[in-house]
């Protein structure tokens, strides 16, 4: 393999100067998303929606790496799962308020992200994916061994508690609003990162890393910061999930979870802002509808992977955007 890391070929090449039309499209998309999230609980299960928002944030965090730096992390379950464990443990055993429990989980993910990221960025391309996967598997075994994670049982019956000490999250509506605020804040933060000068450098690295280096950017440092940001936001998603669903388990930290977040992002559209959100809702809805077919879910996920890679590499949102651009 040469040092030239070829760009992720699927993502539509971003227009250098975001046109007014594109900005408008994004604004409309955002408004539609917020309105949909506000009215959706009247039509479907709020718990499902909360779970979907957590996974949507997870997928957005993952997309920050693959979509905007071109780094495929195949081990994002590490940050999601470990944040979920620590947040659950902090809320249940240490009796932290939910906001501090989530902060504990998030910090855990940030530290894990820094350590794993420092190792993984030492290799490029396909090796990067294999290293992140292997490190995540290592931490899965650690989780399996450690006492506080509860092994096969996980940490169950995590108390939702009182946000800031006085907002009761056991109320379904307050919980919903809280998860929505966390999700939207994370989403906007990622949007801000992507459109900042820092984000532009990340895209430059994605398109042509040697060139970015020759322009004087310390690309390793940028990649590491992006990795830590992505892991941290995955941690926010995992922590919030632990509080919302009141459980942290081995499922969150095992490799199929890493595969699932890749699938969500891929289905929605790599390198699109709304893609991961759409992908997360689609995949979770599919799992929800298909919960009766048992093991076939695995086969269906595999078929979706193959189909999307062969036929719709741009994903749902990417294909729609391409239609509008024509």
């Amino acid at each position: 393999m040469q040092a030239t890391s070829s760009p992720v070929a699927a993502g539509p090449v971003t227009v250098r100067q975001p046109s007014l039309l594109q900005r408008q499209g994004e604004l409309i998309g955002f408004v539609v998303m917020v309105v949909a999230l506000i009215i959706a609980p009247f039509f479907t299960y709020p718990l499902f929606l909360m779970q979907a928002m957590c996974f949507a944030l997870f997928a957005c965090a993952f997309n920050l790496l693959i979509g905007y730096v071109g780094l495929l992390s195949f081990g994002h379950a590490l940050y999601f799962g470990w944040a979920s464990y620590l947040s659950a443990h902090a809320a249940k055993v240490w009796g932290f308020n939910p906001e501090f429990a989530i902060l504990t989980g998030t910090l855990t993910a940030a530290v894990c992200g820094f350590l794993a990221g420092s190792l993984a960025i030492r290799r490029q391309g396909i090796y990067f994916a294999m290293i992140t996967l292997a490190l995540a598997q290592m931490m899965y075994f650690v989780a399996l061994r450690m006492k506080f994670t509860g092994g096969e049982d996980g940490i169950q019956a995590v108390p939702r508690g009182y946000l800031f000490g006085f907002i009761n999250l056991n109320n379904e509506t307050t919980m919903y609003v809280f998860v929505m605020v966390v999700f939207l804040a994370g989403f906007l933060l990622i949007y801000r990162i992507i459109h900042s000068p820092f984000g532009e450098v990340l895209k430059a690295i994605r398109e042509n890393e040697p060139r970015a280096i020759s322009l004087g950017y310390k690309t390793d440092r940028y990649k590491l910061i992006a990795f830590v940001l992505s892991a941290t936001l995955a941690g926010v998603a995992g922590s919030t999930k632990a509080i919302t669903l009141q459980i942290a388990s081995l499922t969150d930290v095992n490799w199929p979870m890493s595969g699932e977040v890749v699938l969500m992002t891929l289905v929605g559209g790599l390198g699109t802002i709304f893609g991961p959100v759409v992908g997360a809702f689609v995949i979770l809805a599919m799992q929800f509808k298909l919960s009766s077919v048992g093991e076939w879910v695995l086969v269906i996920q595999g078929v979706i992977f193959v189909t999307v890679v062969l036929l719709f590499r741009r994903g749902i949102v990417g294909e729609i955007a391409a239609l509008f651009r024509r």
Binding site: M1, Q2, A3, S6, P7, V8, A9, A10, I66, L72, F74, L119, R122, R123, Q124, G125, I126, Y127, A129, M130, I131, L133, A134, L135, Q137, M138, F141, V142, L144, R145, W255, G259, V262, L266, G294, E295, W296, V297, L298, V299, Q301, G302, V303, I304, F305, V306, V309, L310, R313
Partner: protein, 295 residues
């Protein structure tokens, strides 16, 4: 009883043997991965699933047609290898011009499909596969008991590994292969049918995985998830060894198997993670891998 570092020597050699067996499978699988990656530029995530298919094929052959271990050792890899060729023709051939990542994603999807189908028809529990008649029993070496089958696995893996190394590094066909890895266009201009070579290489790599699967069937039970966790360890082995060298893949595979076996003796709780820890250390000290060239 003789003890070495406070460990009974029988336990030590027993774990060393298990380490060597695991190492044989790491070597066979990482070798297949390296050969496939060299030609196709694709990391074959389905390698673990294809290893499992080899074991399943041997099991089904015995169950439904009464074909035993020895013929299965040839037939199962042929069947699974042919299946690999179909996969290459239908799916992989469209991806060569794209980023490597898509190959990984597609083969990951294939792995999910294969494992899911196997789970539906075989269940998650392991299915036993009897040892072949002629390899039962074992030798008492004085310091340890060596089961015949385990000795057979180690010897055959070594023969296959070095046979592959010889075929690639020392024969004419291997020279074509290496040339096509470097510059497919030029090799085509010499009148060699590179696309067919690519297809056959994939078939060979997959058959190698299936062969390892048949050999593993009597040792571990045949189960749908036997490949999934193994492939992640093999990825770590590949990161440590680097995919540039065939010999490197073999040495790293066996070496890490032995290290893992030793860890089971001295720090049993770390035996699952030791290979990943070594990977982390190698990345710190020699980012390109022990035998790696470039990235």
């Amino acid at each position: 009883m003789i003890t070495i570092f406070g460990v009974p020597s029988a336990a030590l050699f027993g774990q060393l043997l298990i380490g060597l067996i695991n190492g044989s499978f790491y070597a066979l699988l990482s070798l297949g991965l390296a050969v496939i990656f060299g030609m196709l530029n694709i990391i074959n995530f389905a390698h673990g699933a294809q290893y499992m298919l080899g074991a399943v094929a041997a099991f089904l052959l015995l169950q439904f047609t009464g074909i035993g271990y020895w013929p299965a050792l040839i037939i199962a890899p042929l069947i699974v290898g042919a299946f690999g060729i179909v996969i290459e023709r239908t799916f992989l051939q469209w991806l060569y011009k794209l980023d490597h990542l898509y190959g990984l994603l597609l083969t990951f999807g294939l792995a999910l499909i294969i494992e899911g189908v196997a789970r539906n028809y075989l269940g998650s529990a392991g299915l036993p596969y009897a040892l072949p008649e002629s390899l039962r029993g074992g030798q008492n070496l004085g310091f340890m008991f060596l089961p015949n089958y385990r000795a057979w696995v180690i010897v055959v893996s070594l023969v296959i590994c070095f046979g592959t190394w010889y075929a690639i590094e020392r024969t004419r066909l291997g020279a074509y292969l290496r040339a096509a890895t470097e510059n497919p266009t030029l090799v085509r201009a010499f009148g060699i049918n590179v696309p067919v070579m690519i297809t056959l290489t994939y078939g060979f790599g997959v058959a190698l995985a299936a062969f390892a699967g048949v050999m593993a069937a009597p040792i571990y039970n045949v189960s749908p998830q036997m490949g999934a966790e193994l492939i992640i360890v093999v990825f770590a082995v590949v990161v440590i060894g680097g995919m540039g060298s065939i010999l490197g893949a073999i040495v790293t595979g066996f070496g890490l198997g032995i290290v893992e076996g030793l860890t089971k003796v001295f720090f049993p709780e770390a035996s699952n993670t030791v290979i990943f820890v070594i990977m982390a250390i190698v990345l710190l000290v020699r980012p390109a891998g022990l035998f790696g060239r470039g990235t």
